[in-house]
Amino acid sequence: MLEVRELRKQFQPLSGQPVVALGSVSFRVESGQFVSIVGPSGCGKSTLLQCIAGLSRPSTGRVLLHGREVTGPPEGLILLFQEYNKSLMAWRSVLRNVRFGLENRAGMSRVEMDAEAQRYLELVGLKGFEAHYPWELSGGMQQRVAIARALVRRPEVMLMDEPFGSLDALTRIELEDALLRLWESLRATILFVTHDIEEAVYLSDRVYVLSCRPSQVIEEIEVKLERPRNQLTTREDPRFIQARRHIFELISKEMAKA
């Protein structure tokens, strides 16, 4: 349902040769899947998400959502940014930030929107924080507000750009599981970018490994671990360890090339 076809993106810096971030990236994501993208630093993962989200135009290649080409931010798709604190609105309370996700849609009254926002806040475990302001919350809680804001729109596809990258290990674990629970109950399609190999394997049905610049998909790895996943048992599963090792080797080789 989401298809990326030979996506290529190059940038023209102020001086010198054009920088090719994405060489030729192709893959497909089926509806309801949880897919991760991993790769060495600087390989263009964020750029890839921006192109898929319609915020950036690819140099060549296409992104197709339900068979239709993406030329601008498409309906039913939300991108969650890495710097979540910069994407939340400091002048709105937590509730109103979540409500923002619904606001430019016709047909809901203020009261209805607030109620819906309230629901999703509870879903992400932030009940009681409606009147707080984002800067009053911890990093992990802010990220949850951003997630709630995206979810309140019931998107078909959620793109997440290293959402847990700047959180401490314990918060990260908590949010990984929270995300999985949400995903399972809402059955959205998630495309998850991370530099954390273990996180990618833990969360996903499928992991795409990107090469260095100009990036391509080196390999697609299917993660056949049972769901629901468990932080302890899943991570000790030999198949988990094997997948992790394999991806690690792939990326190490890539980074050695650079």
Partner: protein, 257 residues
């Protein structure tokens, strides 16, 4: 001023007392420098008998007009320039040329075109106040974090909604800074234009008392003007604190970290 400013008040009182004592020591000095008590008494008198009120009203009215017009014009222009870079680039040399010219230099040209009445004074005030507001507004819009704008894009906001819900609130702290700076500038220009050519207003009154050597009245009016400036500033800060509470909290937190 959360704590009771004991030391500050003590020093203030000390200064006033010192002023009083020094002024009383010498009769000659008292002519140039009347004791604080006399100044305050005179202030009470000229306010009480209505002499000063007319001038205060005239100055405040000019101030209000000038400031409000400048705010409306400069914020609008600043938003346009901030949002449309080609437009800004078009006007940039003109802005850079006019900007370093001290605003009082426009008084003669304003007199030429508008005479010596209220229009001239308001016009000069509008010109002078517009600059800090304009420049701060442009900066405020330009400095909006791209992540915020991208967020608006991924939520598929239309241009008007994006402006109303994201751009304008995000730029507002900087706009408020510009408004605050131009508050003081407005008072300065109103006072100056009244001193250069006028027959009413606090600026005129102060200079006129000096010329007719009514020194206590001169000081009294200066005190009145300072108090008005102080009150306007306090009013502004209060409104700002209320409307921009979110920003205070945000920046407050960053300071702690």
């Amino acid at each position: 001023m959360a704590r009771l400013p004991g030391k500050g008040l003590a020093v203030l009182l000390g200064c006033l007392v010192l002023w009083e004592v020094l002024a009383r020591q010498s009769g000659a000095l008292a002519l140039y420098f009347p004791p604080a008590s006399q100044v305050l008494a005179t202030l009470a008198a000229i306010v009480g008998n209505g002499e000063l009120l007319g001038h205060i009203a005239a100055s405040l009215w000019r101030f209000a007009q000038g400031y409000a017009l400048a705010a409306a014009l400069a914020v609008s222009a600043g938003l346009c320039f901030g949002l449309w870079r080609p437009l800004y680039v078009l006007f940039e040399p003109l802005i850079e040329l006019l900007r370093p010219m001290p605003s009082p230099a426009t008084i003669p040209i304003a007199i030429l075109f508008l005479g010596i009445g209220d229009e001239m004074k308001v016009a000069v005030t509008v010109y002078a106040c517009s600059w800090p507001i304009l420049l701060n507004t442009i900066d405020g819009v330009r400095a909006i974090d791209p992540v915020l704008l991208n967020t608006a894009a991924t939520f598929r906001l239309g241009p008007w909604e994006r402006f109303r819900k994201v751009v304008f609130p995000a730029a507002s702290p900087q706009i408020v800074t510009g408004l605050r700076v131009s508050l003081a500038i407005a008072l300065i220009l109103v006072t100056t234009s009244e001193m250069v050519v006028s027959n009413d207003g606090l600026g005129f009154y102060i200079l006129d008392r000096q010329r007719s050597f009514q020194i206590p009245e001169m000081y009294a009016a200066i005190v009145a003007l300072a108090l008005i400036g102080y009150a306007l500033n306090w009013l502004f800060l209060t409104l700002d604190g209320w409307a921009m509470a979110w920003h205070k909290g945000l920046t407050g937190k960053e300071e702690i970290l």
